[in-house]
């Protein structure tokens, strides 16, 4: 039951992008096509799951143990940077087409605040290892969901006629606002 609450809460109620404002850069950047956003979602889910495990171990076995919690930011960001590099190398070998589609956004996962955000949130919330992983994966699914939904909308927006000043990012932001409003309907679910 508790895990169910974590999952629903992380995917719908406190959606990373639409209510916690983490990972907005890729949200606006790679959401032009449904296909690329699916790939990005998958990459982020993968990185987040590993980050959750590593961050949990680091937090409990190193930072808390040696009383150096203030080094948290530096340690976490370095680990994430290394992880992303690893995912990049693996993807390059395993799926060159996906690697090409994601292009410059893979290295940008390093500066995806959602990933660092997850690491820090897990440390703050005092989750156990399994809860941490469930939470991270749910957040990543929420991220992918928002990304794919948004990409679907944007594919149609491209064809719409609108004032020049609204084209591109402004209309995307306003659309995201309306989407966020829709997600607010989930609040109170858990």
């Amino acid at each position: 039951m508790e895990y169910f609450v974590i999952v629903i809460g992380a995917i719908f109620v406190n959606n990373v992008v639409l209510s916690q404002f983490l990972g907005i850069c890729p949200f606006l950047g790679v959401s032009n096509k449904v296909e690329t956003s699916l790939g990005m979602g998958a990459a982020v889910t993968f990185v987040m799951a590993i980050t959750a495990v590593v961050a949990y171990i680091l937090q409990h076995c190193v930072l808390v143990k040696y009383n150096i919690e203030y080094m948290q930011t530096i340690v976490f960001i370095l680990v994430i940077a290394a992880l992303v590099q690893m995912v990049e190398i693996i993807l390059k070998k395993m799926s060159p087409s996906l690697y090409q589609a994601l292009g410059i956004f893979l290295p940008l996962i390093t500066t995806n605040c959602a990933v660092l955000g997850v690491a820090i949130l897990i440390a703050q919330k005092n989750f156990n290892l399994l809860e941490s992983v469930v939470y991270a994966v749910s957040l990543a699914i929420g991220f992918s969901l928002a990304l794919v939904l948004f990409a679907g909308i944007r594919e149609r927006l491209e064809l719409d006629d609108m004032p020049k000043a609204m084209k591109g990012v402004p209309i995307a932001l306003i659309t995201a606002g309306i989407l966020a409003m829709a997600f607010m309907g989930f609040s109170g679910l858990v």
Partner: protein, 195 residues
């Protein structure tokens, strides 16, 4: 480019929020009021200036391939310094900004300026660049915070302008997106005219 331009370009031409669309997470996440926007902007500016200076000083001794990790470590240290100082001296603001303080590390603006400017220019110019971009960022955040606070809770910097609750949606998540979207429309309209 003269020194003054280095500072002023961040306000309009290379405004990080409205023109370059960078650093959206803190922009949307922390601007529930004008004061919060200002605080976040100032913290980011501080990190930006210092990391720009240090990176331009050490750029010649860093091997190319480990450039990014080296920059990130430098930025992360300054962010931790800011975090500790805020916790010590402005605990209330620290509590409000919460998780977004450590997240300054992953603000694309800072790594972007390190890569695009500080790694190619001298320390003084880099400091000015950091100041300019930082000011632009702070202004954008303060304006967005002020608009959201005005519409959402009817006050600016905590000073009540009208009675009642305001349109609460602007303090909540959807309002952040919508307010920023419309501000960007206005910005585009104004800059398109001046060209």
């Amino acid at each position: 480019m003269n020194k003054l331009q280095l500072i002023t370009k961040g306000l309009i031409k290379e405004n990080p929020t409205f023109a370059l669309v960078l650093g959206m997470c803190p922009t949307l996440g922390t601007t529930t009021s004008a004061a919060n926007g200002l605080g976040m902007g100032a913290a980011t500016m501080f990190v930006l200036i210092l990391s720009n200076i240090v990176i331009s000083l050490v750029k010649n001794v860093i091997p190319d391939k480990v450039r990014i990790p080296a920059f990130i470590v430098i930025i992360a240290s300054f962010v931790t310094v800011v975090q500790l100082c805020m916790e010590a001296f402005v605990p209330d603001l620290y509590a409000t900004l919460g998780v977004f303080i450590p997240l300054i590390v992953v603000n694309c603006i800072i790594l972007g300026r390190a890569e695009a400017f500080a790694s190619k220019n001298n320390a003084f110019d880099s400091a000015l660049d950091g100041l300019g971009i930082g000011l632009g960022f702070t202004c954008s955040l303060t304006v967005l915070g002020a608009v959201r606070e005005l519409l959402g809770s009817g006050s600016i910097f905590g000073a009540r302008l009208y009675e009642g609750d305001g349109m609460l949606i602007f303090v909540l998540a959807p309002g952040a997106f919508i307010a920023l979207g419309y501000l960007m429309v206005v910005f585009n309209k104004l800059t398109a005219k001046s060209k």
